[in-house]
Amino acid sequence: MSELASALPGAEYEGIVRVTEAGLRGMVTLKADLPDAANGVKAVTGQAVPEPRRINAGDVSVAWMAPDELLILCDHARADQVVRDLAEQLGTAHHLAVNVSDARAMFTLTGDTVKDVLGKLTPADLAALPLGEMRRTRLAQVAAAIWFSDAQTAHVICFRSVARYVFDLLALAARPGGDVGYH
């Protein structure tokens, strides 16, 4: 079997914040009528369907991406099983569950100025973004989803095909001397 690898294994940059590639992460996209799918999602993930834009975090996390879309975050090795379990739980209910783990890249930013660093790259109002809220937006030229798990920790998901571009953007925005002192 092929050796599994994330987009930029071990990539990290230490600037005014620390940027690291999060390695292999399991991600399952579920498209469904969310109220109808709530029981199945709970059975598979242990999490309730989140309120709009929120993330219910745990061993398996569930993020609200759109009124008909969730992103389930889990161990990379578990993602296929999550898809199978969803198919079993949701049965004939119209839905789509796909293991998108290897179509994505994920980065973690840590440091006191994570909001300032991300704020250079996105038009989103990060001052108004609560902890634990998924903000789908863009980083410079490409789509990304970002959220803060605490005041010093931000997470970024993007397409794997633009992983290098996004990592370089984040590293550039985090270069020493680039602190803007806004947030």
């Binding site: 834009r53 759109a66 009124p67 989103a124 863009r138």
Partner: protein, 107 residues
């Protein structure tokens, strides 16, 4: 910069997170229509200077279409609303009238 609140997901989105979809509330003319009707549907737009209804897609966000009422000259936004409507809803019409007493929905 134009900021529109996506009525689907509630995000205050910058115009650079959105894809513009042209004029809203067009009446579609398809098979069986006259050439003039089809031309008007495809190509002819009032291109209003002032109150205007537009389609937008929250492309770098929830991905859904919605509609917006704004002033094309001042960029003032009167409101955003569901794409599943065939005419501006009453609250949007009232919001426009409060700011533009001379405006009427027919123009």
């Amino acid at each position: 910069m134009l900021t529109l609140t996506c009525p689907v997901c509630g995000v205050d989105a910058c115009e650079t997170e959105l894809a513009a979809g042209g004029e809203a509330h067009l009446k579609r003319f398809g098979p069986g229509s006259t050439d003039d009707q089809f031309e008007e549907y495809l190509f002819l737009r009032p291109n209003a200077k002032g109150v205007h209804f537009e389609r937008w897609r929250h492309a770098m966000g929830c991905g859904k279409w919605f509609l917006a009422a704004r002033d094309t000259a001042t960029l003032e936004v009167f409101g955003t609303y569901s794409a599943q409507t065939t005419a501006p809803p009453a609250d949007i019409v009232n919001a426009i009238r409060a700011k533009r007493p001379d405006w009427s929905p027919e123009t």
